[in-house]
Amino acid sequence: MKSVPFSVASRLVGDAAVIYPKGYLNNLSGESLVKECGIYIGRGITKIVVNFSETDLINSIGISLLLQIIEDLKNIKGTICCTNMSKFLRDTFKMLGLIQYMVVFPVESDALKYLKSGKV
């Protein structure tokens, strides 16, 4: 656990937005993640990649806010890809039975390739 203050960065790669949440994903940070994704969705982006390489800890409120993003994208027939998840994060989503609602890739480039070609 690195105890870095939460921050969220993002970039646009083609027609996909890549989001980088960093630190502890809880209620406050989860809100800024939702907000960041919301900005892209508002601009018509329907493909979002969340790169978790810098996310060291998450709590159930953070998880619920991630679900909010999944739902928002579902409503516009969009896609969310999760990448660079630690074993801990993957196990946590599996425990809750949520992994089936997201497309998971080991690394960001795989997700971007998938979103471009539509193939895994």
């Binding site: 656990m1 709590n59 739902e71 074993k87 425990m95």
Partner: protein
């Protein structure tokens, strides 16, 4: 009230005594028996036996039961006479009409019962009432007392139906007074006359020491036999405990042997209180360790402690004397007896005369006559709280350590208090990370452990409404187990309130929250939620198998 007896089927192992007492009026009528003094350690079920006797007699018709408790009686003579008399009249009428509500309704004035009494043709009772009221009108103190005490005899003689008089904690009658305490010694002897009557057997409970002083009249002594109520045998004690648990819907862990119950020495009051403590602490799947914990709660803060405290208050009201009494009792417990009285004033911190008076009160009360481990632990707890000024949690811990087996004793322990502030749970996560590293837990499991703890803390922060806004955490590591205890004040929380909703359903209904305890359950081996006093306590445990990696 005699009508609040426990169900007859839960009243174990007293059939012989009950049968004997039920036949007492017939025995006394034939001069084969007389009055009975029920003896037994406190909590052994003397009061309950009287209540069961009352209930049994009430259902039959051969003798009228009259129960009176001196425990809560106002001992100022005039008040006592009125109370004793009106209770007798109500219970008599209640018996004749077979309506327990009449006895229980203490608010209804006697005058209102007169039409019912007249309609039943209980003229003997009417004579008693008129006689008593005449004494009240004339302000005749002794007349009132004698009329009240002899009312059962008068009613029995006029109707020909025996009255069995049950006097609970009868030794307290020695304190009866006219207008100020101690101004009229010996009023208790007024009972002597009615005790000699053939139609009125008396069954009494109380301290043996005090009662010996009452029976100075040899003819009275000859008519009174002692009946000793012993402890329940171990198997029946365990059966009674399991019955109480079943009533409270508490289960025992499969391997629990209830060996710890032997400490209670078959005392039904302690057994019942222990079961109730388990219920109050929201225990489920009771283990031997839980039993120890419930017991310690009982002797330090529970009903057993309250019971003994109230016994104390009867003998010493003054706080300074109470402290001195605690010191003396602690001294006696540590030394196995009360030593040379002369030197004990150094222990009590009071003068020799005051110390002697307290020692006399201890003797009279009979509280250290039997080696009673429960009472001794109550005194230890009281000493730590009132003399040492220890915190209740420290008191509990110290007493618990006397009973926990070596393997259950803590290997190492860390404590942490966090405020209910944003991100305070991260401090906990950081702490558990280091504690986990100290016992070589793998990193992946540590992350999960952090998550479980974060969830429990968030739950407390969000839902407890705690007034002190603090969370108390204790991390206990043993070679084979990690135990984390999270405590907070505020609204009770129960796992029963959580309902498992399938993920699809949750998402369909837009329910994005409520994952916390699902995670905690998945990560930990055992999750218990209990209530201790005004605090909710969550106990998380994880078995540590040194040969294998620990996984959620």
């Amino acid at each position: 009230m005699p009508s609040n007896a426990i169900p007859a089927e839960d009243f174990l192992n007293r059939e012989h005594e009950l049968h004997y007492l039920k036949g007492l009026s017939a025995l006394k009528g034939k001069a084969l028996g007389g009055n009975v003094f029920l003896e037994g350690a406190r909590g052994m079920g003397k009061t309950e036996l009287l209540k069961q006797l009352h209930r049994a007699l009430f259902r039959e018709d051969h003798a009228v039961p009259f129960y009176y408790s001196f425990k809560t009686a106002n001992l100022k003579g005039g008040y006592f006479a009125r109370d004793y008399f009106t209770r007798f009249v109500r219970q008599y009428l209640s018996f004749v009409k077979k309506d327990p509500a009449i006895a229980d309704n203490v608010a209804e004035p006697l005058q209102r019962l007169m039409p019912a009494i007249a309609a039943l043709g209980l003229y003997g009772l009417i004579d008693c009432i008129e006689d008593f009221q005449a004494h009240v009108k004339n302000n005749d103190f002794y007349g009132q007392l004698i009329a009240a005490i002899s009312a059962p005899v008068v009613a029995a003689q006029k109707s020909g139906k025996p009255v069995i008089v049950m006097l609970d904690d009868f030794d307290a009658a020695e304190q009866l007074f006219e207008s100020s305490q101690g101004d009229a010694h010996g009023l208790i002897s007024l009972f002597g006359e009615s005790m000699q009557n053939r139609l009125c057997p008396h069954v009494m409970t109380g301290s043996a020491g005090a009662l010996e002083a009452v029976f100075t009249d040899h003819s009275l002594l000859g008519m009174t036999e002692r009946m000793r109520l012993g402890p329940l045998p171990e198997d029946l004690a365990a059966q009674l405990f399991r019955t109480h648990l079943a009533t409270l819907k508490i289960t025992c862990a499969p391997d629990v042997r209830l060996a710890f119950l032997s400490l209670l020495r078959g005392n039904p009051l302690y057994i019942r209180n222990l079961a109730k403590a388990a219920w109050k602490m929201q225990k489920k799947g009771l283990t031997e360790k839980d039993l120890v914990e419930c017991y310690v709660f009982e002797v330090s803060e529970g009903e057993t402690a309250f019971y003994w405290s109230s016994v104390f208050s009867r003998y010493v009201q003054n706080p300074t004397k109470r402290k001195a009494m605690v010191k003396l009792l602690m001294h006696a417990i540590e030394n196995g007896r009360v030593q040379d009285r002369g030197r004990l004033s150094m222990v009590s911190g009071l003068g020799e005369a005051e110390t002697a008076a307290i020692l006399d009160a201890i003797d009279t009360s009979g509280i250290i006559r039997d080696e009673n481990a429960v009472f001794q632990d109550f005194i230890r707890a009281l000493y730590m709280k009132e003399i040492d000024g220890s915190k209740p949690s420290d008191v509990r811990e110290k007493i618990e350590s006397r009973y926990l087996s070596e393997s259950e004793k803590e290997e190492s322990r860390f404590e942490l208090v966090i405020p209910m502030n944003a991100n305070a749970e991260l401090v906990v996560a950081k702490a558990v990370e280091q504690i986990g590293r100290n016992i070589n837990l793998d990193d992946d499991f540590l992350n999960h452990l952090q998550l479980a703890l974060i969830e429990v803390c968030i739950n407390a922060i969000e839902h407890s409404g705690s007034y002190e806004k603090k969370i108390f955490l204790k991390f206990i590591t043993r070679p084979d187990k990690l135990e984390i205890i999270v405590k907070n004040s505020g609204r009770p929380f129960s796992l029963d309130s959580l309902t498992e909703i399938p993920v699809e359903e949750k998402l369909r209904m837009g329910m994005k929250r409520g994952w916390g305890f699902k995670l905690v359950y998945s990560i930990m081996d055992s999750v218990k939620v209990e209530r201790v006093g005004d605090r909710t306590r969550v106990i998380l445990t994880k078995e540590i198998n040194k040969d294998k990696e620990v996984h959620p």
